[in-house]
Protein backbone atom coordinates (compact mmCIF):
# COMPACT_ATOMS: atom_id res chain seq x y z
CA UNK A 1 0.00 0.00 0.00
CA UNK A 2 1.35 3.41 -0.97
CA UNK A 3 1.11 5.94 1.79
CA UNK A 4 0.29 9.49 0.87
CA UNK A 5 1.81 12.26 2.90
CA UNK A 6 0.14 15.63 3.52
CA UNK A 7 0.97 18.67 5.59
CA UNK A 8 -2.00 20.05 7.49
CA UNK A 9 -2.22 23.34 9.35
CA UNK A 10 -3.30 23.50 13.00
CA UNK A 11 -4.12 27.01 14.13
CA UNK A 12 -5.19 27.58 17.71
CA UNK A 13 -4.49 30.47 20.09
CA UNK A 14 -2.61 28.51 22.72
CA UNK A 15 -1.70 31.76 24.40
CA UNK A 16 -4.11 34.60 25.18
CA UNK A 17 -7.40 34.97 27.00
CA UNK A 18 -9.06 31.79 25.72
CA UNK A 19 -5.90 29.67 25.57
CA UNK A 20 -7.11 26.99 27.99
CA UNK A 21 -9.81 25.76 25.63
CA UNK A 22 -7.56 26.27 22.62
CA UNK A 23 -4.83 24.12 24.16
CA UNK A 24 -7.36 21.35 24.77
CA UNK A 25 -8.40 21.68 21.10
CA UNK A 26 -4.78 21.36 20.02
CA UNK A 27 -4.44 18.29 22.24
CA UNK A 28 -7.55 16.72 20.71
CA UNK A 29 -6.13 17.22 17.23
CA UNK A 30 -2.68 15.94 18.17
CA UNK A 31 -4.18 12.83 19.77
CA UNK A 32 -6.05 12.00 16.56
CA UNK A 33 -2.86 12.55 14.54
CA UNK A 34 -0.94 10.30 16.92
CA UNK A 35 -3.56 7.56 16.59
CA UNK A 36 -3.43 7.88 12.81
CA UNK A 37 0.34 7.56 12.81
CA UNK A 38 0.15 4.50 15.06
CA UNK A 39 -2.51 2.90 12.89
CA UNK A 40 -0.28 3.26 9.82
CA UNK A 41 -3.11 3.95 7.40
CA UNK A 42 -3.02 5.10 3.80
CA UNK A 43 -2.43 8.71 4.81
CA UNK A 44 0.32 10.21 6.92
CA UNK A 45 -0.11 13.73 8.18
CA UNK A 46 2.48 16.26 9.19
CA UNK A 47 1.05 18.98 11.40
CA UNK A 48 2.17 22.57 10.93
CA UNK A 49 1.17 24.16 14.22
CA UNK A 50 0.76 27.93 14.44
CA UNK A 51 -0.42 30.17 17.28
CA UNK A 52 -2.20 33.46 16.50
CA UNK A 53 -2.36 34.33 20.24
CA UNK A 54 -5.93 35.56 19.96
CA UNK A 55 -4.90 38.36 17.57
CA UNK A 56 -7.29 38.61 14.59
CA UNK A 57 -4.60 40.08 12.34
CA UNK A 58 -2.36 37.13 13.14
CA UNK A 59 -5.12 34.66 12.23
CA UNK A 60 -5.34 36.19 8.78
CA UNK A 61 -1.57 36.43 8.29
CA UNK A 62 -0.97 32.87 9.44
CA UNK A 63 -3.77 31.52 7.24
CA UNK A 64 -2.20 33.20 4.22
CA UNK A 65 1.18 31.85 5.24
CA UNK A 66 -0.11 28.28 5.49
CA UNK A 67 -2.06 28.46 2.24
CA UNK A 68 0.87 30.15 0.51
CA UNK A 69 3.12 27.29 1.63
CA UNK A 70 0.83 24.81 -0.12
CA UNK A 71 -1.13 23.62 2.90
CA UNK A 72 -4.70 22.97 1.72
CA UNK A 73 -6.32 21.65 4.91
CA UNK A 74 -6.25 23.64 8.14
CA UNK A 75 -7.86 22.79 11.46
CA UNK A 76 -8.37 25.87 13.53
CA UNK A 77 -10.16 28.78 15.21
CA UNK A 78 -12.20 28.86 18.39
CA UNK A 79 -13.92 32.26 18.24
CA UNK A 80 -16.36 33.14 15.47
CA UNK A 81 -14.59 36.45 14.92
CA UNK A 82 -11.37 34.60 14.06
CA UNK A 83 -13.21 32.18 11.77
CA UNK A 84 -14.91 35.02 9.92
CA UNK A 85 -11.55 36.76 9.64
CA UNK A 86 -9.88 33.84 7.87
CA UNK A 87 -12.71 32.50 5.68
CA UNK A 88 -11.97 34.96 2.82
CA UNK A 89 -8.38 33.62 2.72
CA UNK A 90 -9.59 30.03 2.39
CA UNK A 91 -12.13 31.02 -0.24
CA UNK A 92 -9.58 33.00 -2.24
CA UNK A 93 -6.93 30.26 -2.25
CA UNK A 94 -9.37 27.34 -2.19
CA UNK A 95 -8.26 25.78 1.06
CA UNK A 96 -10.49 23.94 3.50
CA UNK A 97 -10.87 25.14 7.09
CA UNK A 98 -11.98 22.53 9.61
CA UNK A 99 -13.74 24.50 12.34
CA UNK A 100 -14.05 22.42 15.51
CA UNK A 101 -16.17 24.49 17.86
CA UNK A 102 -19.79 25.24 18.67
CA UNK A 103 -20.93 28.51 17.12
CA UNK A 104 -23.93 30.76 16.48
CA UNK A 105 -24.77 29.56 12.95
CA UNK A 106 -26.00 31.61 9.98
CA UNK A 107 -22.99 30.68 7.90
CA UNK A 108 -22.11 27.89 5.50
CA UNK A 109 -18.99 28.64 3.52
CA UNK A 110 -18.08 26.10 0.87
CA UNK A 111 -14.55 26.24 2.26
CA UNK A 112 -15.38 25.26 5.83
CA UNK A 113 -16.29 21.93 7.44
CA UNK A 114 -18.05 22.58 10.77
CA UNK A 115 -17.59 19.77 13.32
CA UNK A 116 -18.82 21.72 16.37
CA UNK A 117 -22.42 22.24 17.41
CA UNK A 118 -24.88 24.40 15.44
CA UNK A 119 -27.34 26.64 17.35
CA UNK A 120 -30.15 24.07 17.17
CA UNK A 121 -27.79 21.64 18.91
CA UNK A 122 -26.80 23.87 21.83
CA UNK A 123 -28.78 27.06 22.49
CA UNK A 124 -32.27 25.84 21.55
CA UNK A 125 -32.11 22.72 23.78
CA UNK A 126 -30.87 24.97 26.58
CA UNK A 127 -33.82 27.35 26.20
CA UNK A 128 -36.17 24.37 26.27
CA UNK A 129 -34.58 23.12 29.48
CA UNK A 130 -34.42 26.48 31.23
CA UNK A 131 -37.94 27.57 30.35
CA UNK A 132 -39.47 24.29 31.45
CA UNK A 133 -37.40 23.63 34.58
CA UNK A 134 -35.73 26.80 35.82
CA UNK A 135 -37.69 29.93 34.89
CA UNK A 136 -38.42 32.44 32.19
CA UNK A 137 -36.66 35.64 33.32
CA UNK A 138 -33.14 35.77 31.93
CA UNK A 139 -30.20 38.12 32.37
CA UNK A 140 -27.70 37.78 29.49
CA UNK A 141 -23.99 38.51 29.77
CA UNK A 142 -21.46 37.98 27.03
CA UNK A 143 -18.17 38.86 25.44
CA UNK A 144 -18.59 41.71 23.02
CA UNK A 145 -18.42 40.01 19.63
CA UNK A 146 -20.50 38.08 17.14
CA UNK A 147 -20.83 34.87 19.21
CA UNK A 148 -22.55 36.52 22.15
CA UNK A 149 -24.57 38.97 20.06
CA UNK A 150 -26.06 36.28 17.85
CA UNK A 151 -26.35 33.56 20.46
CA UNK A 152 -28.21 36.01 22.69
CA UNK A 153 -30.48 36.99 19.80
CA UNK A 154 -31.38 33.35 19.13
CA UNK A 155 -31.81 32.76 22.85
CA UNK A 156 -34.02 35.87 23.22
CA UNK A 157 -36.26 34.92 20.32
CA UNK A 158 -36.66 31.34 21.52
CA UNK A 159 -37.29 32.40 25.11
CA UNK A 160 -39.75 35.13 24.08
CA UNK A 161 -41.65 32.58 22.00
CA UNK A 162 -42.06 30.55 25.20
CA UNK A 163 -43.42 33.51 27.11
CA UNK A 164 -40.12 34.43 28.73
CA UNK A 165 -38.24 37.69 28.87
CA UNK A 166 -34.65 38.88 28.79
CA UNK A 167 -34.50 41.53 31.49
CA UNK A 168 -31.10 42.84 30.39
CA UNK A 169 -28.10 42.14 28.19
CA UNK A 170 -24.57 43.22 29.10
CA UNK A 171 -21.43 42.85 26.99
CA UNK A 172 -17.78 43.14 28.00
CA UNK A 173 -14.61 43.11 25.93
CA UNK A 174 -12.91 39.75 25.48
CA UNK A 175 -10.52 39.37 28.43
CA UNK A 176 -12.30 41.97 30.60
CA UNK A 177 -12.60 40.82 34.22
CA UNK A 178 -14.26 43.79 35.92
CA UNK A 179 -17.78 42.61 36.79
CA UNK A 180 -18.91 44.70 39.76
CA UNK A 181 -21.50 46.72 37.83
CA UNK A 182 -22.85 43.74 35.92
CA UNK A 183 -23.20 41.62 39.05
CA UNK A 184 -24.85 44.49 40.87
CA UNK A 185 -27.35 44.79 38.00
CA UNK A 186 -28.05 41.07 38.08
CA UNK A 187 -28.68 41.09 41.81
CA UNK A 188 -30.97 44.10 41.45
CA UNK A 189 -32.96 42.35 38.74
CA UNK A 190 -33.04 38.93 40.45
CA UNK A 191 -33.61 36.96 37.21
CA UNK A 192 -34.49 33.27 37.28
CA UNK A 193 -31.07 32.56 35.76
CA UNK A 194 -28.10 34.13 34.00
CA UNK A 195 -27.36 33.17 30.40
CA UNK A 196 -23.59 33.40 30.00
CA UNK A 197 -21.80 33.95 26.70
CA UNK A 198 -18.56 35.22 28.17
CA UNK A 199 -15.47 33.36 27.00
CA UNK A 200 -12.06 32.59 28.47
CA UNK A 201 -10.67 34.53 31.39
CA UNK A 202 -13.73 36.81 31.43
CA UNK A 203 -16.00 33.83 32.04
CA UNK A 204 -13.81 32.38 34.81
CA UNK A 205 -13.65 35.74 36.60
CA UNK A 206 -17.40 36.19 36.28
CA UNK A 207 -18.22 32.78 37.77
CA UNK A 208 -15.95 33.46 40.75
CA UNK A 209 -17.14 37.03 41.35
CA UNK A 210 -20.83 36.17 40.95
CA UNK A 211 -20.63 33.26 43.39
CA UNK A 212 -18.78 35.44 45.89
CA UNK A 213 -21.29 38.31 45.55
CA UNK A 214 -24.23 35.96 46.05
CA UNK A 215 -22.56 34.37 49.05
CA UNK A 216 -21.93 37.79 50.60
CA UNK A 217 -25.65 38.56 50.30
CA UNK A 218 -26.79 35.20 51.59
CA UNK A 219 -28.05 34.08 48.18
CA UNK A 220 -27.85 30.40 47.24
CA UNK A 221 -26.54 31.13 43.74
CA UNK A 222 -26.79 27.59 42.37
CA UNK A 223 -30.45 27.24 43.27
CA UNK A 224 -31.67 30.83 43.15
CA UNK A 225 -29.79 32.35 40.17
CA UNK A 226 -28.05 29.53 38.28
CA UNK A 227 -25.73 30.37 35.40
CA UNK A 228 -26.30 28.58 32.10
CA UNK A 229 -23.83 28.51 29.20
CA UNK A 230 -23.24 26.93 25.81
CA UNK A 231 -19.48 27.22 26.17
CA UNK A 232 -18.54 25.94 29.60
CA UNK A 233 -16.28 22.87 29.52
CA UNK A 234 -14.16 20.78 31.89
CA UNK A 235 -10.80 22.59 31.52
CA UNK A 236 -12.61 25.84 32.24
CA UNK A 237 -14.10 24.46 35.45
CA UNK A 238 -10.54 23.91 36.63
CA UNK A 239 -9.77 27.55 35.82
CA UNK A 240 -12.82 28.79 37.75
CA UNK A 241 -11.53 27.04 40.84
CA UNK A 242 -13.00 25.16 43.78
CA UNK A 243 -15.00 27.95 45.40
CA UNK A 244 -17.30 28.41 42.42
CA UNK A 245 -16.92 25.28 40.33
CA UNK A 246 -20.22 23.52 40.91
CA UNK A 247 -23.84 23.95 39.92
CA UNK A 248 -23.37 25.58 36.51
CA UNK A 249 -25.56 24.44 33.64
CA UNK A 250 -23.96 23.74 30.30
CA UNK A 251 -25.45 22.76 26.96
CA UNK A 252 -23.05 20.81 24.80
CA UNK A 253 -22.74 17.77 22.57
CA UNK A 254 -19.94 16.26 24.62
CA UNK A 255 -18.97 15.92 28.27
CA UNK A 256 -16.00 13.87 29.40
CA UNK A 257 -18.22 12.05 31.91
CA UNK A 258 -20.17 10.29 29.13
CA UNK A 259 -20.23 6.56 29.61
CA UNK A 260 -19.31 4.64 26.49
CA UNK A 261 -16.40 2.44 25.41
CA UNK A 262 -15.39 5.02 22.79
CA UNK A 263 -15.33 7.84 25.33
CA UNK A 264 -13.49 5.74 27.90
CA UNK A 265 -10.81 4.99 25.32
CA UNK A 266 -10.64 8.67 24.29
CA UNK A 267 -10.34 9.91 27.88
CA UNK A 268 -7.66 7.35 28.72
CA UNK A 269 -5.62 8.07 25.61
CA UNK A 270 -5.96 11.82 26.09
CA UNK A 271 -4.89 11.65 29.73
CA UNK A 272 -1.91 9.49 28.81
CA UNK A 273 -0.82 11.77 25.97
CA UNK A 274 -1.30 15.02 27.85
CA UNK A 275 -0.74 14.44 31.57
CA UNK A 276 -0.05 18.15 32.05
CA UNK A 277 -3.51 19.01 30.73
CA UNK A 278 -5.64 20.87 30.09
CA UNK A 279 -8.23 18.12 30.40
CA UNK A 280 -10.43 17.27 27.43
CA UNK A 281 -13.42 19.36 26.44
CA UNK A 282 -16.23 19.42 23.89
CA UNK A 283 -14.01 21.47 21.62
CA UNK A 284 -11.14 19.02 22.09
CA UNK A 285 -13.47 16.23 21.04
CA UNK A 286 -14.65 18.28 18.04
CA UNK A 287 -11.00 18.74 17.03
CA UNK A 288 -10.37 15.02 17.47
CA UNK A 289 -13.43 14.26 15.31
CA UNK A 290 -12.32 16.78 12.68
CA UNK A 291 -8.90 15.14 12.25
CA UNK A 292 -10.47 11.67 12.13
CA UNK A 293 -12.90 12.79 9.42
CA UNK A 294 -10.13 14.62 7.57
CA UNK A 295 -7.99 11.46 7.48
CA UNK A 296 -10.94 9.42 6.19
CA UNK A 297 -11.75 12.05 3.56
CA UNK A 298 -8.13 12.28 2.41
CA UNK A 299 -7.96 8.51 2.08
CA UNK A 300 -11.20 8.51 0.12
CA UNK A 301 -10.29 11.45 -2.11
CA UNK A 302 -6.69 10.42 -2.73
CA UNK A 303 -5.70 14.08 -2.79
CA UNK A 304 -5.77 17.08 -0.46
CA UNK A 305 -7.53 19.24 -3.04
CA UNK A 306 -10.22 21.19 -1.15
CA UNK A 307 -13.13 20.34 -3.43
CA UNK A 308 -12.26 16.65 -3.58
CA UNK A 309 -11.87 16.40 0.20
CA UNK A 310 -15.10 18.29 0.75
CA UNK A 311 -16.95 15.93 -1.56
CA UNK A 312 -15.38 12.94 0.17
CA UNK A 313 -16.21 13.99 3.72
CA UNK A 314 -19.93 14.05 2.97
CA UNK A 315 -19.97 10.27 2.94
CA UNK A 316 -17.98 9.81 6.14
CA UNK A 317 -19.30 8.90 9.56
CA UNK A 318 -17.59 8.10 12.81
CA UNK A 319 -18.31 6.45 16.13
CA UNK A 320 -16.88 9.30 18.19
CA UNK A 321 -16.50 9.69 21.97
CA UNK A 322 -19.92 11.43 22.02
CA UNK A 323 -21.56 8.78 19.81
CA UNK A 324 -22.27 8.62 16.12
CA UNK A 325 -21.15 11.69 14.14
CA UNK A 326 -21.58 12.36 10.44
CA UNK A 327 -21.37 15.34 8.14
CA UNK A 328 -24.54 16.67 6.56
CA UNK A 329 -23.93 16.82 2.80
CA UNK A 330 -26.09 19.91 2.33
CA UNK A 331 -24.62 22.21 4.97
CA UNK A 332 -21.26 20.52 5.81
CA UNK A 333 -22.10 20.79 9.48
CA UNK A 334 -22.12 17.75 11.77
CA UNK A 335 -24.96 15.61 13.08
CA UNK A 336 -24.36 15.70 16.84
CA UNK A 337 -26.11 14.68 20.07
CA UNK A 338 -27.27 17.58 22.31
CA UNK A 339 -26.94 17.23 26.08
CA UNK A 340 -27.59 19.37 29.16
CA UNK A 341 -25.36 18.91 32.20
CA UNK A 342 -24.52 20.49 35.55
CA UNK A 343 -21.00 20.99 36.85
CA UNK A 344 -19.90 19.15 39.96
CA UNK A 345 -17.35 19.78 42.69
CA UNK A 346 -14.88 17.33 41.14
CA UNK A 347 -14.58 19.42 37.97
CA UNK A 348 -16.84 17.24 35.86
CA UNK A 349 -20.35 17.49 34.49
CA UNK A 350 -23.32 15.42 35.54
CA UNK A 351 -25.47 14.86 32.43
CA UNK A 352 -29.10 15.73 33.15
CA UNK A 353 -30.66 15.27 29.72
CA UNK A 354 -29.57 14.03 26.33
CA UNK A 355 -31.09 13.51 22.91
CA UNK A 356 -31.74 9.89 21.99
CA UNK A 357 -29.69 10.14 18.81
CA UNK A 358 -27.70 12.66 16.77
CA UNK A 359 -29.79 15.49 15.35
CA UNK A 360 -29.47 17.18 12.00
CA UNK A 361 -27.52 20.46 12.02
CA UNK A 362 -29.68 23.47 11.21
CA UNK A 363 -27.21 26.36 10.97
CA UNK A 364 -29.79 28.81 9.61
CA UNK A 365 -32.49 27.54 11.98
CA UNK A 366 -34.67 26.89 8.95
CA UNK A 367 -36.48 24.05 10.76
CA UNK A 368 -36.49 25.57 14.21
CA UNK A 369 -37.17 29.30 14.19
CA UNK A 370 -40.28 31.39 13.52
CA UNK A 371 -40.78 32.80 10.04
CA UNK A 372 -40.74 36.37 11.30
CA UNK A 373 -38.33 37.85 13.84
CA UNK A 374 -40.05 38.32 17.18
CA UNK A 375 -41.17 41.83 17.95
CA UNK A 376 -38.35 43.48 19.85
CA UNK A 377 -39.09 43.80 23.51
CA UNK A 378 -36.08 45.83 24.39
CA UNK A 379 -34.62 44.97 27.78
CA UNK A 380 -32.83 48.31 27.76
CA UNK A 381 -36.00 50.38 28.07
CA UNK A 382 -37.91 49.95 31.25
CA UNK A 383 -40.60 51.91 33.00
CA UNK A 384 -39.07 53.72 35.94
CA UNK A 385 -40.91 55.36 38.78
CA UNK A 386 -39.72 58.62 40.23
Amino acid sequence: MTQKHYRIGIMFSTTGSYSVVARSMLNGALLALQENAEAGGAVTLEPVVVNPSGDLERYRALSLELLGAGVRQVLGCYTSSSRKEVIPCFEKFDGLLWYPSHYEGFESSDNVIYTGASPNQHVLPLVEYLASRVGTRAFCVGSNYIWAWENNRIFREALTARGGIVVAERYLSVGDTEFDQVISAILDQRPDFVFNNLIGTSAYAFFRAFRAACRARGIDQVNEIPVASCTLSEPELAEIGGEAIDGHLSSSVYFSSLESPENAAFIAAYAKAFPEGPVSSADAEASYIAVKLLVAALEHAGTDDARAVRAAVASQSLLAPQGEVRIDPQTYHAWLTPRIARSTLNGQFEVLLEARSPIVPDPYLVQSSPRFASAMRSPLLRVVQS
Binding site: S109, D110, P363, Y364, R371, F372, A373
Partner: protein
Amino acid sequence: MTSRLLQNFKGGRALLIVGRGGKDGSLESTLAKLGVTAEYPEIVDGRAQIEVGNLQPERDILFVDGDLEGAVAIEVNPVSRLPPVPVIGLVGVEAPSRLKALVNLGATSFLRKPVHGGAVYTSLFMGINQFLLRSDMYARLQDLEGRRRGRRAVIRAVVLVIQQDGLDEESAYSQLRRESMRARQNLELYCEEFLSRRANAPDIPGRATSITLRGGNKQAM
Protein backbone atom coordinates in the same frame (compact mmCIF):
# COMPACT_ATOMS: atom_id res chain seq x y z
CA MET B 1 -46.32 50.50 13.57
CA THR B 2 -43.12 48.58 12.82
CA SER B 3 -42.96 45.96 10.12
CA ARG B 4 -41.74 42.60 11.31
CA LEU B 5 -38.67 41.23 9.61
CA LEU B 6 -38.79 37.95 7.74
CA GLN B 7 -35.80 35.90 8.85
CA ASN B 8 -36.68 32.31 7.96
CA PHE B 9 -37.24 31.70 4.26
CA LYS B 10 -38.34 28.07 4.56
CA GLY B 11 -41.01 27.16 2.03
CA GLY B 12 -39.99 29.88 -0.38
CA ARG B 13 -39.70 29.34 -4.13
CA ALA B 14 -37.03 31.10 -6.14
CA LEU B 15 -37.64 31.56 -9.85
CA LEU B 16 -34.20 31.96 -11.40
CA ILE B 17 -34.38 33.79 -14.68
CA VAL B 18 -30.88 33.34 -15.97
CA GLY B 19 -29.22 32.90 -19.33
CA ARG B 20 -26.83 30.26 -20.51
CA GLY B 21 -24.23 29.57 -17.89
CA GLY B 22 -26.38 31.27 -15.27
CA LYS B 23 -26.57 28.09 -13.23
CA ASP B 24 -22.92 28.45 -12.29
CA GLY B 25 -22.06 29.55 -8.80
CA SER B 26 -23.55 28.75 -5.46
CA LEU B 27 -27.02 30.27 -5.73
CA GLU B 28 -29.13 27.13 -5.99
CA SER B 29 -27.17 25.13 -3.38
CA THR B 30 -27.23 28.02 -0.91
CA LEU B 31 -30.95 28.58 -1.44
CA ALA B 32 -31.49 24.90 -0.61
CA LYS B 33 -29.67 25.38 2.71
CA LEU B 34 -32.07 28.23 3.44
CA GLY B 35 -35.14 26.10 2.76
CA VAL B 36 -35.87 27.75 -0.59
CA THR B 37 -36.50 25.64 -3.70
CA ALA B 38 -35.20 26.82 -7.05
CA GLU B 39 -36.89 26.66 -10.43
CA TYR B 40 -35.60 27.80 -13.80
CA PRO B 41 -38.45 29.11 -15.99
CA GLU B 42 -37.86 28.41 -19.64
CA ILE B 43 -36.83 31.36 -21.77
CA VAL B 44 -38.57 31.32 -25.16
CA ASP B 45 -37.78 33.99 -27.74
CA GLY B 46 -35.98 35.96 -25.09
CA ARG B 47 -38.93 35.99 -22.69
CA ALA B 48 -39.12 34.01 -19.44
CA GLN B 49 -42.22 31.81 -19.30
CA ILE B 50 -43.75 32.95 -16.02
CA GLU B 51 -47.44 32.91 -15.18
CA VAL B 52 -47.50 36.28 -13.44
CA GLY B 53 -51.01 35.75 -12.13
CA ASN B 54 -49.87 32.67 -10.23
CA LEU B 55 -47.06 34.43 -8.39
CA GLN B 56 -47.51 34.65 -4.62
CA PRO B 57 -45.63 37.41 -2.78
CA GLU B 58 -45.44 35.42 0.47
CA ARG B 59 -43.79 32.49 -1.34
CA ASP B 60 -42.11 33.52 -4.58
CA ILE B 61 -38.92 35.45 -5.22
CA LEU B 62 -37.68 36.35 -8.70
CA PHE B 63 -33.94 36.32 -9.34
CA VAL B 64 -33.46 38.19 -12.60
CA ASP B 65 -30.24 38.16 -14.58
CA GLY B 66 -29.60 41.78 -15.51
CA ASP B 67 -27.70 40.66 -18.58
CA LEU B 68 -30.88 39.32 -20.15
CA GLU B 69 -32.59 42.17 -21.89
CA GLY B 70 -36.34 42.29 -21.47
CA ALA B 71 -36.59 38.69 -20.33
CA VAL B 72 -39.13 39.49 -17.64
CA ALA B 73 -42.43 41.18 -18.31
CA ILE B 74 -44.05 41.97 -15.00
CA GLU B 75 -46.23 44.89 -14.15
CA VAL B 76 -44.74 47.26 -11.64
CA ASN B 77 -47.13 49.37 -9.56
CA PRO B 78 -46.83 52.86 -11.07
CA VAL B 79 -46.97 54.58 -7.67
CA SER B 80 -45.08 52.24 -5.34
CA ARG B 81 -42.77 50.97 -8.10
CA LEU B 82 -43.24 47.54 -6.53
CA PRO B 83 -43.40 44.32 -8.55
CA PRO B 84 -45.94 41.62 -7.59
CA VAL B 85 -43.22 39.60 -5.78
CA PRO B 86 -39.74 40.46 -4.49
CA VAL B 87 -37.14 40.80 -7.25
CA ILE B 88 -33.42 40.30 -6.70
CA GLY B 89 -31.14 41.43 -9.49
CA LEU B 90 -28.20 39.33 -10.64
CA VAL B 91 -25.52 41.72 -11.79
CA GLY B 92 -22.98 40.64 -14.36
CA VAL B 93 -22.13 43.60 -16.53
CA GLU B 94 -22.04 46.50 -14.12
CA ALA B 95 -23.43 49.16 -16.44
CA PRO B 96 -25.98 51.87 -15.66
CA SER B 97 -28.37 50.64 -18.34
CA ARG B 98 -28.48 47.10 -16.89
CA LEU B 99 -28.83 48.33 -13.33
CA LYS B 100 -31.57 50.75 -14.38
CA ALA B 101 -33.49 47.91 -16.00
CA LEU B 102 -33.33 45.94 -12.75
CA VAL B 103 -34.40 48.96 -10.70
CA ASN B 104 -37.29 49.48 -13.08
CA LEU B 105 -38.35 45.89 -12.44
CA GLY B 106 -38.53 46.80 -8.75
CA ALA B 107 -35.40 44.94 -7.61
CA THR B 108 -34.82 45.54 -3.92
CA SER B 109 -31.51 43.70 -3.67
CA PHE B 110 -28.63 42.58 -5.87
CA LEU B 111 -26.14 39.72 -6.19
CA ARG B 112 -22.96 39.81 -8.23
CA LYS B 113 -22.36 37.02 -10.75
CA PRO B 114 -20.94 34.45 -10.33
CA VAL B 115 -22.91 34.16 -7.15
CA HIS B 116 -20.90 33.65 -3.98
CA GLY B 117 -22.67 31.49 -1.41
CA GLY B 118 -21.78 33.80 1.45
CA ALA B 119 -23.73 36.65 -0.15
CA VAL B 120 -27.04 34.87 -0.69
CA TYR B 121 -28.55 35.09 2.81
CA THR B 122 -27.85 38.81 3.03
CA SER B 123 -29.29 39.45 -0.41
CA LEU B 124 -32.41 37.39 0.30
CA PHE B 125 -32.87 39.05 3.69
CA MET B 126 -32.51 42.54 2.22
CA GLY B 127 -34.54 41.85 -0.93
CA ILE B 128 -37.55 40.32 0.79
CA ASN B 129 -37.60 42.67 3.77
CA GLN B 130 -37.17 45.78 1.63
CA PHE B 131 -40.09 44.52 -0.46
CA LEU B 132 -42.18 44.02 2.69
CA LEU B 133 -41.19 47.41 4.10
CA ARG B 134 -42.00 49.19 0.87
CA SER B 135 -45.29 47.32 0.58
CA ASP B 136 -46.12 48.35 4.11
CA MET B 137 -45.15 51.97 3.45
CA TYR B 138 -47.23 51.98 0.28
CA ALA B 139 -50.25 50.63 2.17
CA ARG B 140 -49.81 53.33 4.81
CA LEU B 141 -49.44 55.96 2.12
CA GLN B 142 -52.65 54.78 0.48
CA ASP B 143 -54.40 54.91 3.83
CA LEU B 144 -53.14 58.41 4.55
CA GLU B 145 -54.07 59.55 1.04
CA GLY B 146 -57.59 58.22 1.55
CA ARG B 147 -57.86 59.96 4.88
CA ARG B 148 -56.53 63.19 3.41
CA ARG B 149 -59.26 63.05 0.81
CA GLY B 150 -61.77 62.35 3.55
CA ARG B 151 -60.85 65.45 5.59
CA ARG B 152 -63.34 67.50 3.57
CA ALA B 153 -66.12 65.22 4.79
CA VAL B 154 -64.91 65.68 8.35
CA ILE B 155 -65.01 69.47 8.06
CA ARG B 156 -68.46 69.35 6.54
CA ALA B 157 -69.69 66.95 9.21
CA VAL B 158 -68.32 69.12 12.01
CA VAL B 159 -70.04 72.18 10.55
CA LEU B 160 -73.29 70.23 10.22
CA VAL B 161 -73.16 69.06 13.83
CA ILE B 162 -72.46 72.61 14.97
CA GLN B 163 -75.43 73.79 13.02
CA GLN B 164 -77.83 71.03 13.86
CA ASP B 165 -76.89 70.14 17.40
CA GLY B 166 -75.69 73.52 18.53
CA LEU B 167 -72.31 72.30 19.71
CA ASP B 168 -69.08 74.24 19.58
CA GLU B 169 -66.39 73.05 17.16
CA GLU B 170 -64.43 71.01 19.66
CA SER B 171 -67.49 69.24 21.03
CA ALA B 172 -68.79 68.54 17.55
CA TYR B 173 -65.48 66.99 16.55
CA SER B 174 -65.30 64.96 19.76
CA GLN B 175 -68.82 63.68 19.23
CA LEU B 176 -68.07 62.56 15.69
CA ARG B 177 -64.82 60.95 16.73
CA ARG B 178 -66.51 59.11 19.59
CA GLU B 179 -69.25 57.86 17.29
CA SER B 180 -66.75 56.76 14.65
CA MET B 181 -64.86 54.75 17.26
CA ARG B 182 -68.09 53.21 18.43
CA ALA B 183 -68.86 52.27 14.82
CA ARG B 184 -65.30 50.93 14.45
CA GLN B 185 -64.69 53.12 11.44
CA ASN B 186 -62.03 55.68 10.80
CA LEU B 187 -63.26 59.25 11.26
CA GLU B 188 -63.16 60.14 7.58
CA LEU B 189 -65.26 57.19 6.47
CA TYR B 190 -67.69 57.67 9.31
CA CYS B 191 -68.15 61.34 8.40
CA GLU B 192 -68.82 60.49 4.76
CA GLU B 193 -71.54 58.06 5.80
CA PHE B 194 -72.83 60.53 8.41
CA LEU B 195 -73.24 63.20 5.74
CA SER B 196 -74.87 60.72 3.44
CA ARG B 197 -77.35 59.66 6.16
CA ARG B 198 -78.14 63.27 7.04
CA ALA B 199 -78.61 64.16 3.38
CA ASN B 200 -81.06 61.32 2.95
CA ALA B 201 -82.88 61.87 6.22
CA PRO B 202 -86.43 63.34 6.02
CA ASP B 203 -86.53 66.96 7.06
CA ILE B 204 -87.18 67.43 10.73
CA PRO B 205 -89.11 70.65 11.09
CA GLY B 206 -87.27 73.23 13.01
CA ARG B 207 -84.11 71.12 13.38
CA ALA B 208 -82.20 71.79 10.26
CA THR B 209 -81.94 75.44 10.96
CA SER B 210 -82.25 75.53 14.72
CA ILE B 211 -79.38 76.89 16.70
CA THR B 212 -79.04 76.10 20.34
CA LEU B 213 -77.56 78.84 22.37
CA ARG B 214 -75.34 77.79 25.19
CA GLY B 215 -73.44 79.82 27.64
CA GLY B 216 -74.47 83.01 25.98
CA ASN B 217 -72.43 82.29 22.89
CA LYS B 218 -74.59 83.17 20.00
CA GLN B 219 -73.57 81.24 16.93
CA ALA B 220 -74.16 82.69 13.53
CA MET B 221 -75.27 80.66 10.59
